[in-house]
Symmetry: C2
Subunit: 143 residues, 2 copies
């Protein structure tokens, strides 16, 4: 077992609120377990990161590429009117990027999704199916 | 006068809610006219952009560099506990990036600043002074 602080570990709150989709070169891609929105979270597998600006230049460019790849997959799977992209981290400090497929008239529209009432989790089958569909799109885009 | 759609024009709602700080190579940097938060907005001077992912690869890297430069200036001027970075555009579709200096215990903490009650504008003198101080930091960082 790695000593604390030397190996990447997903924050337990992120682990509890999201479902695993895929591992890209830099980031874990996870689905927010909330049927109200098509909402993916990217988590760079680096230790002790809090801000995008803590990443070195190469990793930032990689992050931007993976955000793009993720956004393409998300939009293809869950057509939307607008993407919302955010890095907040006020509650969970581990660096994570939100990419959210917003639809005009969704329950939080036009406000932000963050802090908007309680999540509405997927059923086990529906969550797994959506993660698999998103993973297939992400894998196809890297081949 | 340029024909519609061929020249960059700042969205009038952004113009009304923000004060001019500086022009970087790609982006206009503007201060959200809201004393509750240290809040800068970057607007790439390109026509008909809605998503970060609509920018070509070179411009994206430029945007990331200007976000970094802006974040450094903002944090130096207004020390904070966490940066919040977001691109929403649900209301104003013209692509704009928010960089917000958050403090533990600020009026929206730990929620997002977007949609949090009404702005509290700067006095004319205070707004101008803060923009000048931020501009000086941005200019110094490009020299």
């Amino acid at each position: 077992m790695a000593a604390l602080g030397t190996a990447f570990t997903l924050d337990p709150r992120l682990a509890a609120n999201t479902l695993p989709v895929a591992q890209l070169d830099l980031c874990d891609v996870r689905l927010m377990d909330d049927t109200r929105f098509g909402w993916l979270v990217l988590v760079p597998r680096r230790v002790a990161l809090e801000e995008i600006f803590d990443l070195d230049a190469d990793a930032r460019i990689r992050l931007l590429a993976e955000m793009d790849q993720t956004a393409v997959a998300l939009r293809a799977q869950l057509p939307c009117d607008k993407l919302n992209v955010g890095a907040l981290g006020n509650i969970v400090r581990q660096l994570h990027l939100h990419i959210v497929a917003r639809r005009v008239g969704d329950v939080a529209w036009p406000g932000p999704v963050w802090g908007h009432d309680a999540r509405v989790p997927y059923t086990l089958a529906a969550g797994r199916a959506l993660c698999a569909a998103l993973r297939a799109r992400l894998v196809a885009s890297t081949e």
